[in-house]
Subunit: 313 residues, 2 copies
Amino acid sequence: MAYYVGIDVGGTNIKAGVVDDNSMQIISEASIPTGATRPQEIVLQDIIKLTRDVTERAGLKISEISAVGMGSPGLVDVNNGIVIFNANLNWRNFPIVALTREALKIPAHIENDADAAAFGEVVAGSARGASSAIIITLGTGVGVGIVANQKIWAGSEFGHMTIQRGGRLCTCGKRGCLEAYASATGLINITTDAIKNNPESLLSEIARNNGSVNGQTAFDAADDGDPVAKQVIDEYISYLACGLVNLIDGLHPEVISLGGGIAKQGEKLLAPLREKIALEVFGEPGKKVNKTKIVSCTLGYKAGVIGAAMAAK
Amino acid sequence: MAYYVGIDVGGTNIKAGVVDDNSMQIISEASIPTGATRPQEIVLQDIIKLTRDVTERAGLKISEISAVGMGSPGLVDVNNGIVIFNANLNWRNFPIVALTREALKIPAHIENDADAAAFGEVVAGSARGASSAIIITLGTGVGVGIVANQKIWAGSEFGHMTIQRGGRLCTCGKRGCLEAYASATGLINITTDAIKNNPESLLSEIARNNGSVNGQTAFDAADDGDPVAKQVIDEYISYLACGLVNLIDGLHPEVISLGGGIAKQGEKLLAPLREKIALEVFGEPGKKVNKTKIVSCTLGYKAGVIGAAMAAK
């Protein structure tokens, strides 16, 4: 039995945990706000401190940790331990593995965060045992992790696939990326547009009462029967379905697992999503073959932590 | 040494060849028009006759052929030897392997045509030795064949990935598929629209003189300096680049090889395509990392025949 620290560097929060590689359970954990506008070196100091904190909470010393594994959004050079480009945190050519190793004196490893979360779901969660799986994280961005034959297909950025040329501007600089529509940010944008266009709607009232719009607002208003909110959710799910159909037609994964904040809606999201996918996958109308199971991730935020830790192993 | 017959069932022509599995060369070949509007059983009779013809031309008997391998566009059930749906030929649930085996009394096999061509290019052509490769066939449709670790990732239909939601109608019934823009058919549609809108252009004159528009027309007019034709080609290449960028960002293949009629333009197509791709791949502007080589297929139509034959092996 050995212990690994897994760190999930999100656009909003950084989560850390000590993972026992026997039970695949997190035995201690902690989370801090990312503070994404700060310089990358300052964010790293927090990551180091967080690693020490969770280790101490587990009753361990840093020397008892076999390795620390991190997951970062964006373009990661896994072999050289460098985050090449991270649009959400504005990181560039950041040698995070060398700096972490230097600070903690233990081995370190980095993966793309979506890859790490995907790996976590495949080794210990919703896609356990699947021959091929794609894990989609609907958070600040849209992370896409591909696992084939129990191996990470590293660095997929299908979240930035263009589904609407000339469409909404994405954080990556391109227009019409899946992420620009299907992320929590995308849903907030669609919701905000609907509020502007329908100031008298229940959706607008709920947003005014809350003082802000988030990825939950439209779902809350739809629960109360608001047709404007239902339209927002239908539009959101249509974009998400479009991206998933592209991946199903292109790669035929056995399982697609949805994680991240929006996926917490569960069947409210999955049931209409499956319906739209069934209509749009490639094949003859009425006789389409879609063998891909669409499910929710079961590990939640733990997938990124467990996956990062186990990838470091 | 053994002999295999490879058959490439295209939307326009059916090509067949006897392949010597030692040299990987085609030792006899023949081609007939597909007659895609005819019933599937009648097309199959032509395939059977073509197999007998190329075998005879090679100085062989059917009993000396180890197997016949076919490549068909559309959704193929490789394990059961069935073409489930082929939009270009209007085939559906066609048990082509069983019928071929029954007629010829030798083993038969079917792959998606793009998979077969991709396999041909990886075992004997432009992507020989690549760890991962995507072969894109720009013909009547857009075939996408993925080979990872020398194995076909069967049945990719990335040709039907949506890149422009609500865009041009595709033969598959969806709107905005890559195929609707980046196939020869797509180029002809873009060319035809430009001719309508610019009746006084050199492009229109060339089309009138030829009596029709094909995938070559815009390239011919651009060679003669016509700005309207240059705009058509720029638009065509932009759509193609969009699809390729999606695949590069998502899968990071070592090589992308372009084949099919349009790819015959060689560097006239590849040079501007590489430029657009370099600007659009994921990463920080000016510092983008794109390790994917974009090349032309080297086997031409032979890839589909050799690949279908070798997949049957």
